[in-house]
Symmetry: C3
Subunit: 344 residues, 3 copies
């Protein structure tokens, strides 16, 4: 009996199946320190217990993307070990704050299957849910990947395509219990801009760039117990390069966006996301944002801002996204559409 | 009076002497986060408080090798600053779990001395013991190193060779108090294989490889307060390379072995260990294991598995260990013989 | 309205003005673990709760330079984003220990302004104060930087030069409440030398060298939420190099000084500091110290030692500092004059 995990192939998934992912994880201040060392993360809510308390929370939650990466990492051995491509995200919602001391686990339900016409691959849609030690759901998101078939001759499963929302409605966003921005300290947060200072269609160049190193993205990726070999093994690709985990680019871009969006404190929803081009060590990552929408929430002083966050690398102009044929420009790394909570 | 530590030379050790090593260290969730960032460590017991509780422990212990490296690091200024070679380990036993908040210190007793025939070096055997803030012993192991003499003309000490066990007997292993694998959750642990699923002589290729970077191994080595200059100073060797701390290879290999040995949760004993060849940045580390023995313990549901863990680098075939003359094959980095605790 | 911070220019500062810097920060054991991984830090007081308790403190404080870097990092967006040069430090005092769980914030008062004769830049002196969540001051220091003018034609402010002490008097140093070195454990601290074993004028070569990597200094600099682009963006300089944050060199040199100054446990004051030459990845940092002064304090068994700490890189001889014209020798990176607390 072989003991190692060779991952699932397309024909191993069945519609409606629930997969419980391995290795629960207790997070601590150590993961927070790492997040601040790996990314220029400065949002006050996740940086300071005092600031979080002044906004109605008991203590600073861990950065939302720590939660995302931790949950995502658990799914890799079951979902994307034999993935050819990570195709997209939808309907991501942050449901409950996570604090140091919490233990996260993850499960995924197969919600869509479609064999590709070549017969050798197929697309799998899963809805992944992260829960804490009390069974409270902290995160859910839909992700779809293209997965190889073990046997090209295997019969195709019945095609089931999920019905995905293009973007979450504001009323679908979950605001953390107690969150209150009426006494928000803009000086300590770092910028004076509140929701009403942003106009839909406004674009912001986040100015700074970070040149990334192999040691850094490997530390990051392992921290989330994501062990996909393409990120770690320089002998895996013919060019000797290690592909940087897409989540590393998401966190880098989100952190860079502090400069101009310092008050977009918490990520509430992920509407869609695409990793447009691969990123490698030596690339200098920059970011820009576009304001897509704005809304109120029921929480005092708390608004929601919908943003397109684009990460690009050397040679890409700020604000360029797609070419004339609608393809992503070569320097674009990430196109992420998300909702964040911000003082109104 | 010179203020800096030039380390001990062979003639500075005397049989039976006890050396108290400097700098006690309080460990926290920070060291755990680092361990997970530096290595693809995923064993559930050291990852999740909830999983550890379900196995009868109060909370997740720190990875056993955090304890080993922390204790080992303290010994470096007294034992191996002038070492020519780190020759071996024996009779290593993990005696008590270590948790965040615990403070470790270390002492070593000289248990063997043998001058080499060249008169310029000698071998020193020490039994090192790590204790926590309550004085409870958490780890002990024997290590022997070849050390330079300060003065080749100094007279040789009386030769004393310790009587070393080739391997610990299962009844010598210490199982943490309360450990109970009868309700073990194989799904959350990541693999279904229990002790009875492994056969003696079975070999497992752990599949994944990790290409190592200078920044990473220096972070790791400093984290254990091991400051041997050969790991940090690129001007120290003629080839400008920094030698990677052998413990970094041990942790990398042990973590890679999760894939196939996910249920070998806790290291209980180290029977022997050899650093067969040096490792440098740019090497891609892989690992394979061989099942050497299996035994029961008195704890409910807890068995012991004896494993040979071999780390190798680029160009070495899985399962190749020695050449026809009995020498380690060129790509072999580590040959470690240890006992781990696993559900029966 | 532009949303991003373009930093302050010389004409934006006014004498006496108080600037409250953004993003309070809660520190944890994670930051301590990082400090130990980034630097060969081994001073027992900041390493072990038990050691700190034996010296009259409730638990191990975070390394003093963690506090310095955290406070310093907050000032960067307001003080040095448009700085041409970081000119010096003076009158730095550590006022209260900082422990895991504490939240730091920072403010600066403008205490000096002087336009340069070229009309394009000016010098700004600020006194920066760090406070914890109780409003207790934990650190203060004066720093001066050369800042660009936005508009060379803007009129010069009234010149105000602060009156700086060349060095703090021993009676100005704040000894942490309760500190008592009468039961100090020299064995656990790592060296036998007490204050009376050092003579004024004594120089100590700290022996070890560390070759620095881009990944490491970026992790360090981000950890303190210092986001000055010159440290991160390889496209920012014509030579493609990333300038290493001066504080990284301070911490590396201070940590290397353990070897010879293991008992200089806590930094009490910073008299002056200059970053003599830039440091880049690949440089091997070494350090030497000169004993400048010694004094008693009112705390039992606690003395103060005044030290010059010099960091240098490859090619610089130990103990060489300035050339015949009084300029820093090319390999000198740092010249820091500070007071530390040591058993008498």
């Amino acid at each position: 009996m072989t003991k190692t995990n060779s991952g699932r192939f397309f024909e191993d998934y069945s519609h409606g199946e629930v997969i419980h992912h391995a290795v629960p994880r207790t997070l601590s201040g150590g993961e927070r320190a790492f997040y601040h060392a790996l990314y220029p993360a400065r949002h006050a809510m996740a940086s300071s217990d005092e600031f979080a308390k002044s906004c109605g929370l008991g203590a600073a939650p861990l950065d939302d993307l720590i939660v995302f990466h931790t949950v995502f990492g658990k799914t890799v051995p079951d979902i994307s070990l034999n993935a050819v491509a990570n195709l997209g995200y939808a309907e991501g919602r942050f449901l409950h704050p996570v604090h140091p001391g919490d233990t996260l686990r993850a499960r995924s339900q197969v919600i869509g299957l479609k064999q590709n016409s070549n017969g050798r691959t197929g697309v799998v849609w899963v809805r992944t849910t992260g829960t804490n030690q009390h069974g409270t759901e902290v995160l859910e998101y839909i992700r779809w990947v293209m997965v190889r078939k073990r046997d090209a001759g295997a019969s195709a499963p019945r095609e089931m395509l999920p019905d995905l929302q293009r973007a979450l409605r504001p009323d679908q966003l979950r605001v953390p219990a107690g969150l209150d921005f009426t006494a928000y300290d803009f000086t300590q947060a770092g910028e004076p801009h509140r929701l009403r200072d942003y106009r839909i269609g406004e674009k912001i160049d986040h100015v700074d760039g970070v040149t990334v190193e192999d040691a850094e993205h490997m530390l990051a990726t392992r921290l989330w117990q994501n062990t996909a070999k393409v990120h770690f093994d320089a002998t895996n690709r013919e060019d000797g390069k290690r592909l940087i985990y897409g989540g590393h680019v998401i966190s880098m871009a989100r952190s860079l966006s502090f400069n101009g969006l310092a008050n977009a404190q918490l990520i509430a929803g992920i509407n869609s996301g695409a990793h447009a081009n691969p990123c490698f060590a030596g690339d200098t990552i920059r970011a820009w944002s576009e304001v897509l929408d704005a809304a109120e929430t029921a929480a005092p002083g708390v608004g929601a801002i919908r943003l397109r966050l684009v990460a690009c690398k050397d040679g890409a102009d700020a604000f360029s996204l797609r070419d004339a044929e609608g393809r992503y420009a070569p320097g674009v790394l990430l196109d992420l559409d998300y909702w964040a909570l911000m003082p109104v």
